[in-house]
Symmetry: C2
Subunit: 202 residues, 2 copies
Amino acid sequence: MVSAEKPDLRERTRQAVRAQLMAVAWDLFVEQGYDATTVDEIAAAVGMSQRSFFRYFGSKEDVVLVKFEAVGVMLADELARRPVSEDVWTALRRSFDGIVETSERDPRYGLLVLRITDRAPVLRARRLEQQTHWQELLAPLVATRLDPPATDADHDPRPAALAAAALACLNVANAAWLDSDGTESLRRLLDDAMRAVHPGAF
Amino acid sequence: MVSAEKPDLRERTRQAVRAQLMAVAWDLFVEQGYDATTVDEIAAAVGMSQRSFFRYFGSKEDVVLVKFEAVGVMLADELARRPVSEDVWTALRRSFDGIVETSERDPRYGLLVLRITDRAPVLRARRLEQQTHWQELLAPLVATRLDPPATDADHDPRPAALAAAALACLNVANAAWLDSDGTESLRRLLDDAMRAVHPGAF
DNA sequence: CCTAACTTGTCAGTCACTGACAAGCCCATC
DNA sequence: GATGGGCTTGTCAGTGACTGACAAGTTAGG
């Protein structure tokens, strides 16, 4: 027996194929645009049939959206790591620091991702939906920091509202940043946005 | 000459056909679900070809989404009507009063709309995107109420952030309301949500 | 070596959507 | 009241995303 240290060889090759598909697809999207790229092309570019592509990704959109799944988890991690002394809004703002820093270290990738998802209406819409998943990850963590703590945890809209509002700010800041083509500082845009919505924090 | 009092007979019949398509489509969606209803069915139900359906609506989704376009305009109207003495957040909250009151007068329609758009992932996503249009309508009105007024109107993220955050609260409240099947008060949910995000207003 | 599990390609079909074309309709003008 | 142009409509053909079914090949484990 090999024990379960490696989560199965099959699973690893599967992930490798997925990664390769993502890479190839991404290149094509950048080159000729999301809409102008067909699934057949992507599949052909890695030498597989269209049918098999759909065995790795549920849809063409998924190839792009998978990139965002990880971000949600990362945000939740960072939020969980914030000191309890910090008020909710500040903690939310700080949990975005990872994104901000990435944007400062190398803006190109972030701008590219935003640009691609912005041009294709389907992706623009789906990205927003994806954020409701982020919101679901963040809300329970927000709940633990509520000023007047929640009594009826399940029906209290406040945690979700705070998470959703913070993400809305992130969106606005991202949009403005993309609009400026990376000229403006994402950090400044985000600070301004979040301070306007919830004055008195950080 | 008939003068331009009636915006053209052709345009009116066109609107009538659109309305009929929307009504028929809506019934089918309610009956058998959005995904399970094909455009062919809708077209057949009003006695026209599929091709003609697409001459009235750009996509199947549009039949549903058109319902939301009007809401955005309504919100902007109500926001514009708020007294200048009111602070931004309160004004935004008040501009949602129309929606709240509708939900209290007859919750069934609102719940139905939310339920349908919630079940079909495509619609869920598109509805969120639609809200960025609302946001674009609201932002300039918000800008006129900024506490420290905007200097560089175009690159100031604050108006968009406030509008987006308020809409995020509306979303969360709507979701919770739908979740409770109309049991909870949308007004209360919305008040709680918006107060949590921006304490000290209304 | 052999079998069961898994992957793959092929094929056929559905559905949303689009361009092109031809036939019919409405209406103003001659 | 015939005629010509504008508008709407159906039909047809085609594309692209996606899915189910099946058969063939590959792989892992006994």
